[in-house]
């Protein structure tokens, strides 16, 4: 058997273990497929990410894994942003319902853009946005969406390295060392 085959098997086994571990960590609502976000929050976030980086001849942020990226890191390095996501996504939905009588995800793209520009300019209703500043929430989501889309696929976004293909960046060559241990949190050997 070639060494690559062994490594691939080891990896697949470890990946299955990691998936099981992620399930055990889940603290979203029971029916949510996500780790932290509820299904409703994830839908609003996906819609928002897709306006930040829309699909055209190349994939948009949502199909590229923006929600997966953000949700994954809300379990780790983004832990401190949990409340901002919870409050911000709730306020986004309330704004959409108040202004247009619909969920954010159900609005036309042009209307979604109008609403997002309202957040960006900080002009959204202070009554609804009483827990988090709209601009702060918007900036945070723009930043994380860019990270998910243009960052390394290993972090849970940029599915199939779509953005790197789009930019014309040669994909990461697989080089000799077996330096990732997917049986440990974060997949790091240290």
């Amino acid at each position: 058997m070639k060494p690559q085959t062994i490594r691939r098997r080891k990896f697949l086994g470890a990946a299955a273990a990691a998936a099981a571990a992620a399930g055990a960590l889940s603290c979203g609502t029971r029916k949510s497929p996500w780790r932290f976000l509820s299904a409703e929050e994830a839908a609003a976030l996906a819609a928002m990410a897709d306006r930040i980086i829309p699909a055209d001849q190349d994939p948009g942020a949502a199909s590229s894994g923006a929600v997966n990226f953000i949700d994954r890191h809300l379990m780790g390095h983004f832990k401190r942003f949990r409340q901002t996501y919870r409050d911000g996504l709730a306020a986004l939905e309330r704004t959409a319902r108040t202004m247009f009588g619909q969920k954010f995800a159900g609005l036309d793209a042009g209307v979604q853009d109008r609403l997002l520009k309202l957040l960006e300019s900080g002009a959204a209703s202070r009554v609804i946005w009483n827990q988090v500043a709209p601009r702060q929430f918007f900036d945070m989501v723009v930043g994380h969406t860019m990270q998910s889309y243009y960052g390394d696929p290993r972090h849970g976004g940029n599915r199939d390295a779509a953005s790197w293909r789009m930019l014309g960046v040669p994909l990461v060559p697989v080089r000799g060392r077996d330096q990732y241990d997917f049986t440990k949190p974060g997949g790091r050997t240290a």
Binding site: H77, L116, V169
Partner: protein
């Protein structure tokens, strides 16, 4: 708990401390080298574009961690905030064996003769503590040469008419040019400038038993996969350990420098990796923790005889914090500039370091290291919206067709740009954290605007169809080029250490890192830190009492 006494304890295994440890061990002194971070190696090169020392969206790749090492930043409006180690405003360098030299871009500049005589050349602008160094370039020249040879530098500065006199060429030839070099070189010549290969602490050929650069894109901010980047972690520190006289203790956090009842320095108190407080007695103590942390350690070393901390009788410890203001410009081209050949930065001019009309000093200009895709996101022209279809279009169209040129402006030191020990906030070990306040001198920004315009002119001459400038704001400088907080000088009333890096009033306490820089050159400072480490070590060995 007190440990067995050694000849010297060196706090911090970075550019300065690593060299001092080796030089003292080589001279036969027993040395303990303390490092707050772990020993990471080429094996720890994870090519993680969101978690490294330059892009920290998912944390610092090479320390320190976010949870145990907070700092306090005082903003211009007086508002205080606690910052985490991976956040902007923290002014991080690194926490690992090798310090910043494990992951730096590795530009290996000698300062110029006038960089050591800034005050006598230009006069200090109002509100600046601009001063001459108490040593000259000629004093340091043999030690620059030693650093270039022992750590390893590639490049060719011979086409640069502005470099200071040197006795030997660099030990390794430059790497072959990349595409940006080929675009920028003729343009610089048409402008009458003098372009040349950037000197780099990076193997271009096998050297010191390690292989040459493989030209990958994961360079600045990353540990080198093949160990071609030369830092103290793969040169002097292993050599120091091989002497048998040096012991390296990693994940040890210094608490304070200890003095006896008469005020004499007797050792260092530190927390070991199991958080146990230890005392390491030593004849000599060398503080090499970087400009922010060295000042903090001295300020935290209080006693009856030193109520304001060690070396701080005249309130100069922590003052004059500086780094580099990095102005520059970007240009867009009608053709691909990106060739995926690392490290990316390749060509420089030193035409604007001095002699700029009406300005005190200037900066070297060089093309930027390879920008990974996420890094390009925040560098688009101000006219491009930061989200939506135009942003994506811009990324798609111009990522491979852009060049960045920028340079480190030599800053005018400001007395109130400073680090203090925070009176309230403590770190994981209960040690008062660094508190940062102050900002840049207006003249620094004036120089920065000029340098940005020169960068833009270079790109235009190279054929850029759209250019835009980038000039930093007036906030505090520091970061990986942090310097100045324990100034070197002849007069104890206006400096902290003497010309040999020895703290005034203490014959056995040295500070060896960027802290002692009076000014920081218009260049990346690491080779000067290394040269000073050799210079100071030579003095320590010379003054070491034989038979002690």
């Amino acid at each position: 708990m007190s440990l067995q006494k050694v000849n010297a304890v060196v706090v911090g295994a970075g550019a300065g401390g690593g060299i001092v440890a080796q030089e003292l061990a080589r001279a036969g002194l027993s040395v303990v080298l303390l490092e707050r971070g772990p020993w990471l190696t080429a094996f720890d090169c994870r090519k993680d574009d969101l978690r490294n020392q330059r892009t920290t969206a998912l944390g610092n790749g090479f320390g320190p961690d976010d949870d145990r090492h907070p700092r306090v930043v005082v903003e211009a409006n007086g508002r205080e905030r606690i910052v985490r180690a991976s956040e902007g405003g923290y002014h991080n360098n690194a926490a690992c064996v090798g310090g910043g030299t494990l992951t730096y871009g590795a530009m290996a500049w000698r300062y110029m003769e006038r960089d050591f005589k800034m005050r006598s050349t230009y006069g200090a602008p109002e509100g600046s503590t601009l001063e001459d160094w108490p040593l000259t370039y000629q004093d340091l020249e043999p030690y620059y040469e030693k650093a270039e040879g022992e750590i390893g530098v590639s490049g060719d500065v011979s086409p640069d008419p502005f470099h200071a006199p040197r006795r030997k060429p660099l030990p390794m030839p430059p790497l072959p040019p990349n595409r940006e070099y080929e675009i920028l070189q003729p343009a610089a010549q048409r402008l009458g400038l003098h372009p040349f290969d950037i000197p780099m602490l990076r193997n271009s050929v096998p050297y010191n038993g390690r292989p040459p650069c493989l030209r990958c894109r994961w360079c600045v901010g990353f540990a080198c996969e093949v160990n071609a980047k030369c830092g103290t972690q793969n040169t002097v520190i292993p050599q120091a350990l091989a002497t048998g006289h040096c012991q390296l203790r990693t994940e040890c956090v210094a608490q304070q420098v200890i003095t006896d009842a008469r005020g004499r320095v007797t050792g260092v108190a530190y927390f070991d990796r199991d958080d146990r407080l230890k005392e390491q007695p030593a004849d000599l103590v060398v503080v090499s923790c970087c400009a922010l942390e060295s000042a903090r350690l001295l300020l935290n070393s209080k006693s009856k005889l030193h109520p304001n901390g060690l070396g701080n009788r005249y309130d100069w410890v922590g003052r004059n914090l500086q780094g580099h203001t990095y102005p520059g410009a970007f240009g867009l081209f009608e053709f691909d500039c990106y060739d995926d050949v690392g490290p990316g930065a390749s060509i420089a001019v030193c035409d604007f370091n001095h002699g700029n009309p009406g300005l005190r000093g200037g900066a070297m200009l060089a093309n930027e290291f390879i920008r990974l895709p996420y890094q390009f996101v925040g560098q688009l022209p101000p006219s491009v919206p930061r989200w939506g279809p135009p942003h994506k279009d811009f990324m798609r169209q111009w990522y491979r067709r852009s060049i960045g040129v920028k340079g480190p402006v030599q800053e005018m030191p400001v007395f109130d740009a400073r680090v203090q020990a925070d009176p309230k906030v403590r770190d994981y070990w209960g040690i008062p954290v660094a508190r940062l306040s102050g900002g840049k001198h207006p003249h620094t920004l004036e120089i920065a605007r000029f340098i940005a315009s020169r960068a833009e002119a270079w790109l235009k001459q190279a054929g850029a169809i759209l250019t835009w400038k980038n000039v930093p704001g007036p906030g505090l400088s520091g970061g990986q080029h942090q310097a100045g907080t324990c100034r070197m000088g002849h007069d104890p009333k206006t400096s902290v250490v003497d010309r040999y890096c020895r703290v005034h009033d203490h014959d056995n306490l040295y500070i060896v890192d960027g802290s002692v820089h009076v000014t920081n050159g218009g260049f990346n400072p690491v080779l000067t830190i290394m040269a000073l480490a050799y210079w100071a070590s030579a003095q320590m060995v010379r003054s070491w009492p034989a038979g002690r």
